[in-house]
Structures are given as C-alpha cells and as structure tokens.
C-alpha cells in the first residue's frame, strides 16, 4: 500500500515536472520580463513622492514663470490678469533696462575672474591641509567654518553689505583689507614697469581675498576628499623615483583631482550665479517688488539661459583635459 502510494506520488511528481519543462521556455521569458518591469515599477514607486512634489512645487511654478515672461502681468483682487505680449518683456530687459544689462555684465566679469581664483586657492589650501602637521585638525575646522556661515544673513553683515543692514561695522572691516598695501609693496620693490591695468588687477585680487577665502569652504572640502583618494602606492612610487614635490603635484596630484576641478567649477559658478546677494539677482528682485512680474520673469529667464550656456561651454572645454582613471 505504502509503496503504491509512493509510486503514485512519484508519478504525479514526474508528470508535473514534465509539464513544467514543457511550459518553461515561454514561462521563463514571461517571468523575466515581468521581473524587469516590476523592478521598473518599484523604481517609479521610489521616486513617485518626489515626482508629485516636483510637478506641484517645481514644474508648474517654472512653467508659470515662463508664461509670465511672455505676458503683461497685472495683479488685481483675487488673482492675476495675463495678456499676451510676445517678446516685449525680453526686448525691454535687453534694450531698455540699462541697469539690468550693466549688472549682468558686471556679474559675468566678476564670475569670470573670481571662479578660477577660487579653484586655484581651494586646491592649494586642500593640498596644505592634506599634509601631516601639528594642529591640522584645528586648521581644518577653521577653514571649513565658512561652510556653515557663508550661506546665511550673518555673512551679509560681515561681508560689508551695508545697504540692507545699515551696518557700519562691516564697512570698517572691509576697508581693513582694501588699503593699497599691494601698490605700496610694488613701489617698494621698484616695480613701476607694470602697466596700470596689471596693477589694477593685482590690487583688486588682493582686495577680494576676504571674498575668496570665505567662498571656498565647500570647494576645499571636495578637493580634500579627492586628495585622499590618491592611492598611497602612487606616492611611494614617486618618492622612490625621486620626484620633487613640484613634480609630484603636476604628475600625480593634478591628474587625480582633475575630475573634481570640473565639479568644483560648476559648483562655484552655480553658487555665485544663484547667490541672492549678486547684483543681477537684486535687480530681478527689485523688479519683482515693483510688481513688474513680466519683466522680472523675462530677466530671470535670460539670466538662467546664460548660466546654462556658461556651464555647458565649461563642461565641454574642461572635459577635454580631464584624466579619468580607467578601472
């Protein structure tokens, strides 16, 4: 009896196995496909919360502001009145609003010379902070301090933005760094031959040391992270070959951190462009406070497109010089 039962069970089992084997090719493909599709669905689930938020709090407002830029916006009781104006707002921003164009030029120029300086400076400091010496932890703590302060209103006060806070302490502070020390030093050294423009450039840079130091906290952090990724074997090899630290920097350190230069460049540009303290931003906000929403939106969009273009060009150029480690 028992044996019979077992036999029967075995039989049914083998039958089932046969059945399964027949079904398998198509069945397996189906399950694989649905597995992938399922994974895709899971992914969508993971980002769905963000997607809803982005549509409500980002894409719709963005679309609206684009619409405003082509319209004449009038605020009235309980809503807004939009009338189509075409490119008139853009025309106004570029051709009629002299202040906007001037501010734009000034901001672009400032970004153009400040960004490379911030990059060079932060790389230099990162290399120093990566060396071993006494008091390194303290030095690091001090140099990262701007990271937590520089985005806030306190920085507005201490960087001497007197208009908004009426703070004279700031003025007193900023004059401390803008005495003509460099000019006097050069005269002392007997350097008269430099053209005036060159002298001007050098002294502006010296005057802006404060801004540069205070704006390179995150960049130093990123470069330091990159420096710590350099394998010790590379360092050893260079030492055995007798490389000087100068050669070591250019042949080993620089190639390793070059991808981070791009990241830092982009970060710095975004940071300076989107800083509410920069003059173009101020102009846009002023326009907004004058209830000229159409013009303000048009200006914001022009500005935004310039940012995108700048980042695109820089990424394109820098990418040609970057060394990516092949794994």
């Amino acid at each position: 009896m028992d044996e019979n039962k077992i036999e029967q069970i075995e039989l049914t089992a083998s039958e089932e196995a046969e059945k399964l084997r027949k079904d398998r090719p198509s069945g397996r493909r189906r399950s694989l496909l649905s597995y992938q599709r399922r994974k895709g669905l899971y992914g969508l689930c993971f980002i769905s919360l963000w997607l809803v938020g982005t549509i409500v709090f980002f894409l719709i407002p963005l679309g609206k502001s684009l619409a405003y830029s082509f319209c004449d916006v009038k605020i009235k009781q309980g809503g807004k009145d939009l009338t189509w104006k075409g490119l008139a707002n853009y025309d106004y921003a570029v051709n009629a609003d002299k202040k906007f164009v001037d501010n734009l030029e000034a901001t672009l120029l400032e970004t153009l010379w400040k960004t490379p300086l911030i990059i060079i400076f932060s790389l230099f400091i990162a290399v120093i902070l990566n060396q071993k010496f006494r008091g390194r932890a303290l030095a690091r703590a001090i140099f990262f301090l701007p990271v937590i302060i520089a985005t806030g209103p306190v920085f507005k006060v201490i960087s001497g933005d007197m208009d908004s806070t009426g703070n004279i302490g700031g003025e007193q502070f900023s004059t401390m760094f803008s005495t003509d020390l460099v000019g006097q030093l050069m005269q002392f050294l007997g350097i008269y031959g430099l053209s005036d423009k060159m002298g001007l450039i050098i002294s502006t840079v010296a005057d802006n040391i404060f801004g540069i130091v205070w704006n390179s906290g995150i960049q130093i952090l990123l470069f330091l992270a990159a420096l710590q990724n350099i394998p010790p074997s590379a360092r050893e090899a260079a030492q055995i070959e007798g490389a000087t630290s100068w050669e070591f920097f250019w042949k080993i350190t620089f190639p390793y951190v070059s991808p981070f230069i791009l990241a830092n460049l982009i970060f710095t540009i975004i940071d300076t462009f989107t800083n509410p303290m920069n003059t173009v931003m101020k102009r846009i906000l002023d326009k907004k406070n004058e209830w000229a929403f159409g013009e303000a939106s048009a200006m914001a969009w022009i500005y935004f497109l310039i940012i995108i273009a700048a980042i695109g060009i820089i990424t394109f150029i820098v990418n040609k010089f970057i060394y990516y480690e092949v794994e």
Binding site: I47, K80, A139, F143, V147, G152
Partner: protein, 329 residues
C-alpha cells in the same frame, strides 16, 4: 680616534658624511634640496595658514568683542579688541528685541523637522534613481539637475500663489506647511543637490548586498530600509547636518512664505528696524549709528551661536562625512 674603526661609536654627523660619499652628485643635490625644502616649508605653511585663519576668524572675534562691550566703548578710540566696560546688557537687549527664545523654538521646530523629512525623501528618491531602470529615467534625472540650476528666485512668485490657493482653497501662507510640504516631497532647499548626493552614494555601494536580500525574499522597500539605510548612516548624518545648516541660514524662502512667523535668519535680516522699534523708540535717546554696531554684532552672534556650537561638537561629521558620501565619485 677609535671611533673611525667601529661604526657604532661614530657620531651621527660622521655617519651621514660617510653615507653622502657613497652617493652620486645628482643624488646628493636632490637630498640637499629636499632637506632645505623640508625646513622652509613648514614655516611658510604656518604663515599662510595663520594669516588666512585670521581672515576667517576676524569677523567672529570682532562679533564677540563687540557684543560684550558697552556702547560708549564704540566711540572710544583706545578700545580695539578688549573692552573697558564688560557688560551683557547688550546681549539681553538684543534677545528681547529678537524675542529670542520664542524665535529659536520656531526655528528649531522648522529646521530639524524639515531637514529630517527632506533627508528621508531625498534618500528614497536618490535610491530610486540609483538602482532601478524605468522609462523616462534620463528625462526625470534631467529635472533633478534643473532643480540644482534654477535659482529659487525664478519660481518664488508662482510658488507663492500656489501656496496661497493650495488645491484651490487652502491658504498655506504663514503656516509651517509651506516649508514642510516641499521638504516632504523632496523639493525643499537644495533638494536637487541632495538627491544627486544620495544617488551617487547608493551607486557606490556594492550591488551584492541587495541581491542577497532579494534572494532571501526581501521586497525592495524592506531591502532599502533594512539593508541600505544602515549602510548609509554616515551619509545620512552628513546630509542631515548640511540640511539643518541650509534651513537655518535661509531667509529668502522663509521671507517669501512667512509674514508673522519669524525664524532666526529673518529676524536678523530685519534686525535694524526691530531694534529701532524695541530699544530706541524713545525720542529722548539719541544713539549714534556707530554705537548701534554693538547690538547688531550681538544679534549676529546670537543667531550663529547655535550653529557654531553644533559645528564644534559634530565637526567630524561635516568634514569626514563628505569624503565618505557619494560626492566622491
């Protein structure tokens, strides 16, 4: 003279000389230059670091120095750093003008809550982008990049109307929802950057641990919570700290959405008029602009003190966390 025969008894100088003789000219030159650089460089380094540290710390020292001095000291030319009259009255006055404890409570409530929900929502989104393939992923990720690039100022006004007539009837202006809702859905302050960090971080984790969890029959959500999150603890902490700092420092967004709710940052931005109303409203008191500095510096000090305290205790996570988190990839 016996020293010349046995090397142990030779002085170090002689030993060095002997070793130098065995080297070629280039090698000797290299060593000499290296020795010189090793001596000069630390001094040079110290000067640079000291000078730049001064540039960074100057405003803070000035703040502390001003906040504890009597206002008459501002006009005293002999007072530079050390005050003649120590007082904490200025701090007390400023605290009263800023309604400090009440404001601090609001700020902390807003800050820590928003930072927390924002970190969670951004981590979930970042994980979705890092590990799953779905249609339109590239396009959606492009939107994340856009979120980093578009300044808040561009969308502030439409966003205001959005909150003013939320879902057609609710008015969320001047309620904490105006800050919490975007944070909850991964659209708070600098969310784009955080999503990017988390995506990079989760991509850097080995895929095997997840596969193991899947084989053991773990669903994706459970895998995320039980396997990935514990691995990402340090990244979470770092992003959370930065989020707290950014929310703390934000005044633009809060000033757009809040009318009566005040955070420390908005309070400081309006400190001038507030001081005028609270302290100098008396027409009989004439106070020099220069002497007002003491109150302003005290306000600055008060508003960054909590951040500085947090930084001192958690500094390690600020600086080391970034190195370990995904930005390095």
């Amino acid at each position: 003279m016996a020293g010349t025969t046995s090397p142990e008894k030779m002085s170090r100088k002689q030993l060095k000389k002997l070793r130098m003789q065995g080297l070629s000219r280039e090698e000797r030159g290299y060593l000499r230059r290296k020795a010189a650089a090793d001596k000069v460089w630390p001094l040079f380094r110290f000067v640079i670091l000291f000078g730049l540290s001064f540039v960074i710390l100057y405003p803070l020292i000035y703040m502390v120095s001003c906040a504890f001095r009597d206002r008459s000291d501002m006009s005293d030319p002999t007072v530079m750093w050390i005050t003649r009259h120590h007082t904490i009255d200025v701090i007390k006055d400023t605290m009263k003008a800023m309604n400090f404890w009440e404001t601090l409570r609001t700020t902390l409530l807003l800050n820590i809550g928003c930072a927390l929900v924002q970190v969670i929502s951004c981590a979930i989104t970042g994980y979705g982008f890092a590990r799953f393939d779905f249609r339109g992923k590239k396009l959606l990720f492009g939107i994340v990049i856009m979120m980093i690039l578009v300044p808040m100022q561009v969308i502030a006004l439409p966003l205001y109307t959005q909150f003013r007539f939320f879902l057609g009837r609710f008015n969320l202006i001047d309620t904490m929802w105006a800050m919490y809702l975007p944070a909850m859905t991964g659209n708070g302050i600098r969310s784009g950057l955080m999503i990017l960090i988390f995506r990079q971080f989760f991509r850097g984790l080995p895929k095997e641990i997840e596969d193991a969890a899947y084989i053991d029959g773990c669903g994706p959500l459970r895998t995320f919570i039980q396997v990935m999150v514990p691995n990402a603890a340090s990244a979470f902490l770092t992003v959370f700290l930065f989020s707290v700092v950014w929310y703390w420092n934000d005044y633009y967004v809060s000033m757009t959405f809040f009318v009566h709710t005040e955070t420390v940052a908005t309070m400081l931005t309006n400190l001038d008029s507030r001081l005028g109303a609270a302290l100098f409203n008396n027409a009989t008191i004439q106070i020099d602009e220069r002497e007002k500095i003491v109150w302003k510096e005290a306000g600055c000090l008060l508003s960054i003190a909590p951040l500085i305290i947090m930084y001192i205790f958690l500094q390690k996570y600020f600086t080391e966390g970034i190195e370990r988190s995904g930005l390095v990839a």
